[in-house]
Amino acid sequence: MSNNENNEDKHYVAPFSKEVSFDELQDAPPSGKFRLSITGKLGVVVVAFWLFIAIFGQFLAPYEENDLPFPDDYSEFQKPRPGAWLGTDVDDRDILSRIMYGAGRTIGISLAGVLIAYVIGVTLGIGSSIAGSRIDQVLTQFFNILLAIPTIMFGLVVVAAVGSSIPILIITAGAIFSPVVFRLSRALGMEIMVMDFVEAAKVRGEGYRWIIFKEIWPNAAMPLISDFGLRFIYVILFVSSLSFLGLGVQPPLADWGSMVRENLGALQYGESVIPILAPAIAIASLTVAINLIVDDVSAHAGGKLSGRL
């Protein structure tokens, strides 16, 4: 625990008693200092690395995403060699460059999708926990039905109906994942709304704006943030799965999921599996790293978040 490090300040700030520090009380809020475990630090490094690649990858990539590194020597699934350090793919394009281009697309689409899910879910969730009764029931029923549809199936139907493009992919991901966010933020809102300090605020005559931003938000923020990480993982997996099925990002644009699909032939004909393995590892390393951070954050926020979902 971070207790030992904080002990010295504690004596000056809040000397409750010498034996029991505030932190040890059962309902104590999370201690101010948030420390990452070793695995959490590793997660931060990996995520930072991929974010860097997502933003600057296309400027640093040795080739354009659809360029051929060896125009004179065309053959698919070449082994790694100087000039193409991860080898070439089914169309003899440089895998390293495509991964660097794809990073921005995969991460960007997922991030935009999860942000939309959060804007919709949190607004409606907190809103309906305050509004109560009729509106709350209708919204909850509606989102419960959406929750009963497996995400990938939902995605398939939407893509079938309106086709696939990057904006549609973002909006679809946002729409599909907003019910879960709605449920979580509604549950949090409900939990907080019945607390004494909210009652007190109401009695004091505070308006809705005060209650939402000064009473509910500070208490709901931490669980929502660690859920955001979790949701981000699911959206990345969703977007790459759709791309993998050929229904997400369309060729010739590079995207990690569709790279795996394009190069599936390497399993049969290729001499190396790097064309499949490299983008798969890229996705897995990113999602696992986020998961490691989320584990630390939710341990810090207290309580098992996964239990609430």
């Binding site: 009963a148 199936m153 399993l267 599996v273 986020i290």
Partner: protein, 317 residues
């Protein structure tokens, strides 16, 4: 108690109904209706009108919906739009066995092993064994299915040298060894995919019970740890574990989509992906409904299991 069960089942049915409306409306939003697609370029105003009348497309939307639902319940799924005059029922009957075999075998092999491993991890929390399992499942839980699949291919095909990376051919007239190499990759991958969740959740469920006072009492009495887990903890953890199993089986329903496409396996999941690519919305409607209904039913079983196993939920105040 029966009232609770009945309300849960009713809620499940209502949800399925709601899902069917979403799917129906979603697929109806597709550009062009069945009559247009089927007649194609040869369509004239009259022939279009005639076919629409025949298919019931001139009716108001809600009547079309009830007609579709009624036919669906009777197993009349209609005719495929993309593949000539093949009925959907034919397409499905050609393939449903493949998907059923893979998911059933996954459930039969993967579930007992993962639940066992999860209980073992809960039996010896904090040991190297437990940490190894926990770290492994944290990693696998977050990884995409095709990553796990690629690892399995590397291990089974390139390292062990059995099986084929792409599953081809029918299962008829094959001997046991051939059947094993035929199925080993998709099943092993799916097992691994659900094992990650299952181990984690089983461990949590058992550990949750292990924290209760009567377990502490049993430990204080000096009963060996194995007996405490087997006799005292496990019986009370059965409900949560069944809940966990049902949730993960529901997950197989969706996980199987990526796995089938990855291995080029001709099951229902590849059929629906095909349907999306060819915009065969009748096929999508039917299969989407089948997948979603299975999912909802499994989730309902999960719900029921946790209620039935917990006296406090069984007899609410």
């Amino acid at each position: 108690m029966f009232r609770i069960i009945l309300t849960k089942i009713a809620a499940g049915l209502l949800t399925t109904l709601g899902v069917s409306i979403v799917i129906f409306l979603g697929t109806n939003a597709l550009p062009g209706d069945a009559a247009q697609i089927r007649l194609g370029q040869a369509a004239t105003e009259d022939s279009l009108r005639a076919l629409r009348e025949e298919l019931g497309l001139n009716l108001p939307l809600y009547q079309q919906y009830f007609r579709w639902l009624f036919n669906f319940l009777q197993g009349e799924f209609g005719t495929s739009l993309a593949s000539g005059n093949v009925t959907i029922a034919q397409l499905i009957s050609d393939r449903y066995e493949n998907t059923l075999i893979v998911s059933t075998l996954t459930a039969m092999i993967g579930v007992p092993i993962s639940v066992g491993l999860g209980i073992m991890a809960a039996m010896f929390p904090g040991t190297i064994y437990d940490r190894f399992l926990t770290l492994g499942s944290v990693t696998l839980v977050a990884a995409p299915e095709f990553f796990t699949a690629t690892l399995m291919v590397l291990f089974v095909v390139f390292f062990l040298g059995i099986g084929n990376a792409v599953v081809v051919g029918s299962i008829e007239d094959k001997n046991l060894a051939e059947l094993i190499t035929h199925f080993i990759l998709p099943i092993a991958t799916l097992c691994l995919v659900i094992a990650a969740q299952l181990i984690r959740m089983t461990r949590a469920a058992v550990l949750n019970v292990m924290n209760s006072p009567y377990i502490e009492m049993a430990i204080l009495k000096g009963i060996p740890r194995r007996r405490v887990v087997m006799r005292h903890a496990l019986l009370n953890a059965i409900g949560p574990i069944v809940n966990v199993i049902a949730i993960n089986l529901a997950y197989v329903v969706t996980g199987v989509i990526v796995i089938e496409v990855y291995f080029g396996y001709a099951g229902l999941a590849t059929l629906i992906v095909q349907g999306v690519q060819t915009r065969d919305y009748i096929l999508i409607q039917t299969l989407g409904m089948i997948f979603c209904a299975t999912y909802v039913i499994l989730m309902m079983i999960a719900d029921l299991a946790s209620i039935l196993s917990n006296p406090r939920l069984r007899h609410p105040k």
